[in-house]
Symmetry: C2
Subunit: 227 residues, 2 copies
DNA sequence: ATTTATTAGTTGCATTGTGTTACTAAGTTA
DNA sequence: TAACTTAGTAACACAATGCAACTAATAAAT
């Protein structure tokens, strides 16, 4: 006796920072259930073409946004009888980080950005999934270099600090922050490139070192441990 | 058009520390595929009785080990066409931590403990899953109180330190370790209880404070952050 | 031109946290 | 009672972090 059929989908929480507010990208569902509602982009696995669920998430992201290789990581699997009106279901959720410009540069016409603190009326348990993604982002941001994936290709250190502060919701000491970024050793200054157009000293532009361009982030050495 | 049927199971990586070696609990499969092989305990979701996959994992653990409330956490979902001879499949994996005595006290007659560094011939991608669980345990142990769940109800600080060292694979400074445990503030001495039977000064026995008896662990304050 | 305002980036110091060494404590064994 | 062993603590050196005050470089105002 094999199993009863279980509804099994992959959903993607696409996060970006507009100004200093975290947003999720939602799209309008074009089929039941909840046809017409705003929800997380997602869908069924295509077992003929998807190598695995990561591949399925990548495919959905590409289809809805045109993005080729954003930061993308499995978030977790959400399950139960209450989340889908059709019955017991599971969703394998991923979360992605992208610079907001890539979404606003209408490569992604169908997507709507919503502040993650004002979600209401999302179908399924999509609100829980978004909140789990935000929590994961906040947690990882407190000790790693993850937030760089919310910046574009070139950015200044003050901007990156502002990104951290927006995510963590509290101010960070400037000197400590710069020391930490230096210690991560993942950034390099763009020779002779500065941020222009402001009424003050121009800030140096940085970019990720080549080794970190893909879905990577840096974590400092552990707390415990020692000789 | 709904989806093709996908094989969907829940598997549990039950870890414990025997001496100073991490072990996984395996059981002999009683049905195809791989009938008779040692594999992770797992099985199909019972969508009529399982509230969600965590509930399914709890049920499987209870059925195979009698354990009621060990530390249990979702590890991740593993998927693809290559992992099951029957076709494209997914497994939602959980990992659990228990004191080794609870397994050896033959409450769990069918289980066999294998050192996690000597796994071979496991079916499906169960070796990958175990290694992912071990990696997660090592990582979390480097900054949290997670390893207490591998100790019994009462334990000494030298024993707990040995547990950390076994997991992390390197020695820890005694003074720093005790300071950190003190900072976690999750342990309390058992009044007047000491470890006996050794040819030296007896060590104070500790237990988890009530608030931490369940599946919890303590994480210190973040790296970045500060006014 | 010169001054003012504003933000970038650095330097030095105070404070805190961590690792090391050496001690005292409390038991067993010879 | 002396020797041995491990538990637990104290004192100090050193490293990491946070803070405040500085210099640097630009645009805007005077």
């Amino acid at each position: 006796m094999p199993q009863k059929t279980i509804i099994c989908t992959v959903d993607v929480v696409l996060l970006c920072l507009r100004g200093s507010t975290l947003h999720v990208a939602l799209w309008r569902r074009d089929r039941p259930p909840f046809e017409g509602s705003l929800a997380l982009p997602g869908g069924y696995i295509h077992s003929e073409e998807d190598v695995d669920t990561l591949d399925a998430a990548t495919r959905m992201l590409r289809a809805k946004t045109g993005l080729e290789s954003p930061y993308l990581e499995q978030l977790g699997t959400f399950s139960g009888a209450g989340r889908d009106p059709r019955g017991w279901s599971i969703s394998i959720a991923y979360y992605a980080l992208v610079p907001v410009e890539l979404i606003e540069a209408d490569q992604a016409p169908g997507l709507i950005l919503m502040p993650v603190d004002q979600l209401k009326g999302l179908p399924f348990d999509h609100k829980d999934i978004v909140l789990a993604a935000v929590q994961r982002l906040r947690n990882k941001s407190s000790y790693s270099s993850l937030p760089v994936h919310l910046c574009g290709e070139r950015f200044t250190l003050p901007r990156l600090q502002a990104v951290y502060e927006a995510i963590l919701g509290e101010p960070i000491n400037k000197v400590s922050f710069r020391r930490k970024m230096d210690e991560f050793d993942m950034l390099e200054p763009v020779e002779g490139a500065f941020e222009t157009g402001r009424a003050n000293r121009p800030a140096q532009l940085y970019r990720l070192k080549a080794a970190y361009r893909q879905s990577l982030s840096v974590t400092p050495r552990a707390f415990l441990a020692g000789s």
